[in-house]
Symmetry: C2
Subunit: 422 residues, 2 copies
């Protein structure tokens, strides 16, 4: 099937204008219809998933995909239940659109309002996990954005089936426009998507380091996400040994392939319990690597780099040099040192006596996330609904012209009626 990608993108743009003005009520009905239709069609989805899994089994045997990719591909009753619940949860969240962020009387009868609005068209590129479709679709609908999704080829049958179940639900939602969600399938579609800077406003890649790097190198569209997750834990001279052990073992072993797992620990050379710490880490099945070449390394498995530092400042400098800007933690009983660390480390998450694994939209209470951003603009850290919005300024007046202010006939008084900032 020949697909003209710019036609798809143009239709998505047109749909984005329509979905932008939907009421919260219509959006929430659409979400609840989706949840119900997935529930009603779960056997159809499982059947499609079994087809993908039997194809993937061969790929695993041939060494073309890893066992962990295979596992992410697999939908079971638990994942299905979470998927359905996730959509219902998003329906219950506050509408992120139309929030007044600032209301200011510029002069008599001249009122400026800053209101949250959708970004427009999102391009989402994801790998194995088919459950991403429902989460991303639900977040896009709730935030009144249109979205073009491209999933991994291993899950193509599951993806197609889930999307058609979602589209059926949207067709049955009165007032919901067409073309808000579009799925594309071929590898060429990724290249085409990256060219559509006229129509696509934001690309969100969810996948491995090499996918994200490829996307960042090959598009002029803003990209939200992260390539590396090189997280650090600094064990200060005054750290509590029990906290240090528990936190490091949690941050490395609870889910070693997560982007928020710790990769490097920096230990103050005067920390009294450093041998005990190393012993505990090793006993937890974690291999400690001592070479400086490893400081750039994201292991994704039960290994971590170890470096001794002579001061808090050296730890901060090391982190600001080697970190990917994701999440770092300090273990210390010294409040002053914690404060310096948290002010000076330039990452999206900076923690005190806490595992780096807390960096997550659900744990932060955002209800859901499209991913974790290490960008320095727009949105940083776990990105939920708020990161899928921007704002516009409106002014209500009564024939006001600039000339009167330039000539000094009138002047601004800038009186805030409401300002979100404290």
């Amino acid at each position: 099937m020949e697909v003209n990608f710019s036609e798809i993108a143009k239709k998505a743009k047109a749909a984005s204008k329509k979905v932008a003005t939907l009421s919260a009520d219509v959006k929430n009905k659409a979400l609840l219809n989706i949840a119900k239709n997935i529930e009603d069609n779960k056997e159809r989805i499982f059947a499609a998933n079994r087809e993908d899994l039997s194809n993937a089994e061969i790929l695993v045997k041939d060494g073309k995909i890893t066992q962990s990719t295979f596992n992410r591909l697999k939908l079971d009753e638990n994942k299905m239940r979470d998927m359905i619940q996730g959509v219902k949860d998003i329906a219950r969240l506050d509408d992120p659109i139309g929030k007044v962020l600032l209301k200011r009387e510029l002069d008599e009868g001249l009122v400026l309002t800053k209101t949250s609005c959708p970004i427009g068209v999102l391009g989402i590129i994801f790998e194995a996990r088919p459950d991403v479709i429902t989460q991303v679709s639900a977040l896009a609908i709730k935030s009144s954005n249109a979205v073009i999704l491209k999933g991994g080829k291993e899950s193509v049958n599951t993806n197609k089936t889930i999307m058609s179940v979602i589209q059926e639900a949207l067709k049955n939602t009165e007032g919901f426009p067409d073309n808000v969600l579009t799925q594309v399938f071929s590898r060429d579609d990724v290249a085409e998507m990256l060219k559509q800077d006229k129509y696509i406003d934001l690309i969100i890649p969810r996948g491995g380091n090499s996918l994200v790097k490829f996307i960042k190198e090959n598009t002029k569209i803003p990209v939200l996400g992260h390539a590396d997750g090189i997280c650090h834990i600094y064990v200060d001279e005054s750290a509590d040994i029990e906290k240090a052990k528990n936190i490091i073992i949690d941050a490395k072993t609870q889910y070693p392939s997560a982007c928020n797992a710790v990769e490097t620990i920096l230990v103050h050379e005067k920390f009294k319990y450093k041998e005990e710490l190393k012993k505990a880490i090793t006993e937890a099945g974690v291999e400690i690597i001592y070479t400086p070449e490893s400081w750039h390394k994201e292991y994704g498995e039960k290994k971590l780099s170890y470096k001794e530092v002579s001061s808090l400042d050296e730890a901060i400098e090391h982190i600001n040099e080697y970190s990917s800007g994701h999440t770092e933690s300090i273990i210390t009983e010294n409040e002053e040192n914690a404060k310096i660390f948290m002010n000076s480390v330039d990452s999206s998450g900076v923690y005190h006596n806490v595992s780096t694994r807390f960096a997550d939209g659900f744990r932060y209470g955002f209800g859901a996330e499209v991913g974790i951003s290490t960008n320095k603009t727009h949105a940083r850290g776990p990105v939920g609904l708020e990161g899928l919005t921007i704002y516009k300024y409106t002014i209500e007046g009564n024939g006001h012209i600039v000339k009167d202010y330039a000539d000094g006939v009138k002047s601004f008084h800038h009186r805030d009626i409401y300002n979100q900032l404290p």
Copy 2:
């Protein structure tokens, strides 16, 4: 002089970490010192400016620069006073850094805080106006960002002198770090700056359409700004003729080369006073162009495109197709139509019965602006201090690990202590 640009950018990055932690007090002292030192050295600055002007006179005669570029280059007592006052005004604004945007107890003793912080290193590329240096430098200092500035070659002497006056003031400010502000001069420096995505976090171009387009095409660094300013005014069937006349004439003639000047007017075909309106516009010295080819046009002079539309919807569709997303206005006495227009038009500013010329950071009460953004992410519309900030998440805990939550030993309660959102 051989300059290694990545060394400059690296030093700016190091400086950005230092300026990030300065107190509001040190930043404000630095700003007041700058204002005073400019005041004390204004004759030196005027002398440098006279040198640039006498070189520029030849360029005007040779037709290499326009008279309006020459005018923007010229510093007089008024511009000098505004420059000094502008820096003092920024000193008086609230510190945009360290503001708590969200404080949420995730669980007992586990507190998430979202706090505003600087972006890092800004790259500012601007054309003729030398007064941009003080405004941008002051905004960067106040928002704790480091900045690399590249000005136009026509104002090189003025730029150098202003920057050395600013640097003297910073040297005399106790606790203010080096390398927060750096100025570069050659055309090659622009190309080099655009390559430094490792060190520079945001590029802000201030200048003509072709400069901005060149920059957007040639960098992976996020760019904040706008290329085109194709603003529309829609005159609804129920418009008040006096408001329509005044607003359109103001929006076109008060400063025709401004980006927020109107370029196209859309008039409802049933608007009773359309002939009277056209007559008034023509009498104000504005040429009306009736060809569809002109709908893409940014005139920058006393010309505007005119189109009749048969409905509000047609006006909205036209705007969403041809607008550059800058600022649009509806003239109507029909509140319902105004509401539809303001919800459906996807531009950074959407006004009702107001001149498009109000799109400006000073008029919005932001104190100053680095420019006006037509981006759909990060910051939109006039960008003041807030657009030069991002946020980070910190968590304070007491040995909290994720395993306890994954195992169901503990659970999140997500209790907001403070949330900026209503």
